[in-house]
Symmetry: C2
Subunit: 166 residues, 2 copies
């Protein structure tokens, strides 16, 4: 089985395509296409990291100074409901969102909580032919890999070295 970090170069075209279809998808989901929703999905699709609601709020506010934080929270949940965003909350204390709704998986640093998308096609196929398990009917799956990023590894080492000298 092969693990592969998601290619960042593909994000531009992906975001453009998603944005062009966004209005249609809102209607399909029974949602009005409001300037606020457009602004939020734009920011989310442009984000390489997996931003928190407050970060999205800050970014959106540059163009829409009157937008409310409650609207950002509400909209993100709504987008998740119609499948236009994904909530990423393993290990985290706070909800994070992901504009990439293609099947994919995550590596995340247990220390600094940074998240990176990865692709493991074999795992995507895992649920094929398994519609249910016991009383659960399966919807989708994602593999969450706990890790330490290089920066936090170094910080860890330094802290340990310090302890030994004091």
């Amino acid at each position: 089985m092969e693990l592969q970090l998601v290619n960042e170069r593909r994000r531009g075209p992906y975001a453009a395509k998603r944005l062009s279809e966004f209005a249609e998808r809102c209607r399909k989901g029974g949602l009005a296409v409001t300037p606020q929703r457009l602004a939020i999905i734009k920011v989310l699709l442009d984000s390489g990291d997996h931003p928190r609601a407050d970060a999205i709020f800050a970014a959106v506010r540059l163009q829409h100074p009157h937008i409310s934080l409650a609207t950002v929270h509400r909209t993100l949940e709504t987008l998740c409901d119609i499948g236009e965003a994904r909530k990423v909350t393993l290990l985290h204390d706070v909800a994070r969102y992901d504009g990439n709704v293609e099947p994919h998986h995550h590596v995340l640093c247990v220390r600094c909580k940074r998240v990176h998308d990865i692709e493991i096609p074999e795992v995507d196929k895992l649920l094929e032919g398994t519609p249910s398990l016991g009383e659960f009917s399966l919807l989708r799956c994602s593999l969450e890999i706990a890790a330490l990023c290089k920066r936090c590894q170094l910080a860890e080492k330094r802290r340990r070295a310090q302890r030994h000298t004091t």
Copy 2:
């Protein structure tokens, strides 16, 4: 690849073994073995569901009426730190904990948030021979499967039927 719900019958012996080794493991982790910690790990090991801190607090308080909620929160995080518990927070709004620290995975109902352990040996082997990915050195992984439990499926159907009649 085969998905398999964790066998509940195995939990009794597993809990007993874990409990008998708990004191030793605390010392290994540099922690004092306090009555509070013992009470908390006991409740966690006896829990078939993946309880929240407040549920563990309620259960522990039956035997230790003076225990503080802060202690429960602190202890659960501490137990996670030394590998005696696991935090399960995908899709959830609130932290949930799992006394089962054997490699395993989760199915969870997106509606009622109930969690069930599952075993997928193939996935456990996924990280073998892959110590790192880009700047991340990999620690462990878990597959989180989003699902709808039977109860919530029925509730969903009923709600839809209602909508059509009104």
